[in-house]
Symmetry: C2
Subunit: 236 residues, 2 copies
DNA sequence: TGTACATCAGTGAACGCGCGTTCACTGATGTAC
DNA sequence: TGTACATCAGTGAACGCGCGTTCACTGATGTAC
């Protein structure tokens, strides 16, 4: 509601372009995303889109950032409704939110976590921060659980030398104080969550093999909590 | 070396088409795979390729099957050099073989395990059997470990009702006798292995975040063995 | 408040490109007698 | 072994399509005086 009419129209058109881009992504996939098609749906001649977006790649970047933020919002919203003092449940809530979002938005999920779009390289400056929102949320749950003494270190808590610096840099960058073994386990749980979501979204279990994929995901999450060092009594 | 010259030439040309297709996949990605480009590299006019392949989709299927088999061969070859009586090591060997193959062949890996190619649906009849070779190998290691009494059931070994039938069908289809909890844990380990490989191949950890990704993968595998119920003394 | 100029959204034509697929054809290879 | 016919690999032209991007332009919106 602020600025000149022209400025407001520009903001609106930008939003329209992102929305239409999202829709095309969902239907045709990232590789087939085309400025001309977006222009058509926008009701405008193809060259007009260049007033708003420098190139096709820039539109893709727009959609990548939009996707990460939408996923991040979904996770944050789910967390807002979760008990503040139960990190195991918060971990589960994050996992479920990722899965739900991914199943609802398979093409956008694919753009973020699937095969890279050939010839397109997401610019780090714009995508890094929104791209880390999920892992930031997860690490928050890890750190909370650790601080509350809910975690039992695994028997093989020793972390190889060649990973120690990387792990320390990760803790520092995310601003948490957690032991190295938990960084390692945390990464394992993180990739395992996305691995499961990938398999489901990209249909790697054959069709019909798993009658109740939601329940399978729940048992997967329970297993991952164990892997993170949650004692079983406190996981239930 | 058998058949008429014409037959031998046909086999050769088919092999050339698959090889060229593989190369194009590696360079331009699956979505950009084109019959015309393959024809160019084959040194032949574009319509000639239709003597060998009914359509672009059929070429994709050819490459999917080829990819699954190449990955399956890599896993089998690695297993052939692994100790026959150490299922924990065999599990690790499978994981490493998948990772190594995926890093060497990112585009083919992406075709098999990444975002589905828009508008293409792999025909089950041709892709199912080669597509299950890795999980068959993994389940072999699970079953061997279980039979040898190497696994300790987890505290929450109970499997939800809604998964029991699916799990039984999976064991039956793969021809192994393992308890339901091990099917569940086995799936978790399976998706976790591919989740880790996905992250690495598709560059989801930021560049340079992990100084020694190979070691990270090893610790990941060790964690997954624990999750499968291997007792720590026997994992080393 | 009115005018002169600058900014900017959108037009329409054009560039050169690559794609999948069909079709009638030529000429070489294979086969039946 | 030789001939007549059938099969098949590959040609070349064409179909209709969509793409990203550039460019000179019109006309509306905004701004400085």
């Amino acid at each position: 509601m602020t600025g000149t009419p022209r400025e407001r129209a520009r903001v609106q058109t930008m939003a329209d372009i992102t929305r239409i881009g999202r829709e095309h992504l969902a239907i045709h996939g990232a590789a087939a995303l085309s400025l001309r098609a977006v222009a058509r749906d926008l009701g405008v001649v193809s060259s007009a889109v260049y007033r708003y977006v420098r190139s096709r790649d820039e539109l893709l970047t727009l959609l990548v950032v939009d996707g990460y933020n939408d996923l991040g919002d979904a996770v944050d919203a789910a967390l807002a409704g979760a008990p503040a003092d139960d990190p195991a449940e918060r971990f589960r809530v994050i996992g479920r939110a990722v899965r739900t979002w991914a199943l609802a938005e398979p093409a956008r999920y694919g753009l973020l976590f699937g095969t890279p779009v050939p010839g397109y390289d997401a610019p780090r400056e714009q995508t890094t921060i929104p791209g880390t929102r999920v892992i930031v949320a997860m690490v928050g749950a890890y750190a909370q659980a650790y601080a509350a003494g809910l975690l039992t270190p695994p028997p093989d808590a020793e972390v190889p030398d060649s990973l120690r610096d990387s792990f320390a840099a990760i803790s520092a960058e995310l601003g948490v104080q957690i032991p190295d073994w938990l960084v390692g386990r945390g990464i394992s749980a993180w990739v395992a969550v996305f691995g499961a979501v990938n398999f489901e979204v990209f249909d790697q279990y054959g069709k019909g093999t798993i009658a109740d994929p939601e329940r399978l995901f729940e048992t997967h999450l329970a297993t991952l909590l164990e892997l993170l060092g949650f004692r079983c009594g406190e996981v239930g």
